[in-house]
Symmetry: C2
Subunit: 172 residues, 2 copies
């Protein structure tokens, strides 16, 4: 059985949407998804470095919305593949429990034995990695698949999926 | 550079000693290391299944003592090997932050990028695994090394180390 490693933030969990929610709540400004890294300082006077501090706050990860379609497609992938959820989360110690609890709530069919919280991902042995970050994709020894997010639209070296329907198309 | 994966409980952190400490605090009975699983019910009227519940308590992991010699030898291993700390901890969500904080306190020279908290360990790609649990050693695709603990003294199929001086002898 082939093994697929699946990232959490901006693949299963809507991290970008969570940032936009916090920008609105705390600064009263609505930014578009593709403005978060580029237009935020201009529109809201908030440097992106400040936004990154929210990653260390209690509740930031726990409250993320589920990316549409991911629950159904992951469940179907698990019938054909060995699925591991692999999240680079050790940098944010308060997020670790939140991530496990988030998965238990939204993906109750994923056993805790198939969850990995790590720093690097390059020592994870899998056939595929679905991820939004170039640093993870570039170092992965198996076949990397980029899941579209505003910060990776410029990447051309990887098989790309834009949504979970496209993940299903690629793997099922 | 070869890669060594090192377990935490009963390899870096004295989990057995922590159980013994709790048995004494809560039941007023002193048990020896090799009595924890076998003599505990007889001596203290405490079934081992009850002891296992302490694994879900706040502070159990955070308060473990460091196994003697491990800090010095891990620091020396890191000069010759790529070292990852790999702990099967997802089953205990409250332990995750505690484990990262414990490592930051006692092994501050280990970068968070080299910490992995997981369920299974068999998808970790490494040349060596130093671990006390047969389930991890048996499934590991690299070379397994058993670190002696009361619950693994019967194993004969693995290279064995009894303390950190023997780890240094084997790898340095």
């Amino acid at each position: 059985m082939q093994r697929i490693a699946i990232d959490m933030d901006d693949v299963l969990a809507d991290a970008t949407g969570r940032f936009i929610e916090y920008v609105y709540q705390r600064h009263g400004v609505t930014v578009a998804r593709d403005e978060l890294r580029t237009g935020l300082e201009q529109k809201a006077g908030v440097p992106y470095s400040q936004v990154r501090e929210w990653l260390y706050e209690d509740g930031f990860f726990r409250g993320m919305a589920v990316i549409p379609g991911s629950q159904d497609v992951v469940a179907r992938l698990m019938q054909k593949y060995e699925v591991f959820i692999v999240s680079a989360a050790i940098e944010f110690p308060q997020s670790l429990r939140e991530k496990v609890e988030w998965l238990a709530e939204h993906f109750p069919f994923i056993n805790w034995k198939h969850i990995v919280l790590c720093g690097h991902k390059y020592m994870i042995q899998a056939d595929y990695l679905i991820d939004d970050h170039e640093k993870n994709l570039a170092a992965f020894p198996g076949k990397p698949v980029v899941y579209t997010a505003p910060h990776n639209v410029h990447l051309t070296a990887y098989t790309r999926v834009n949504n979970w329907a496209e993940v299903a198309e690629l793997f099922l």
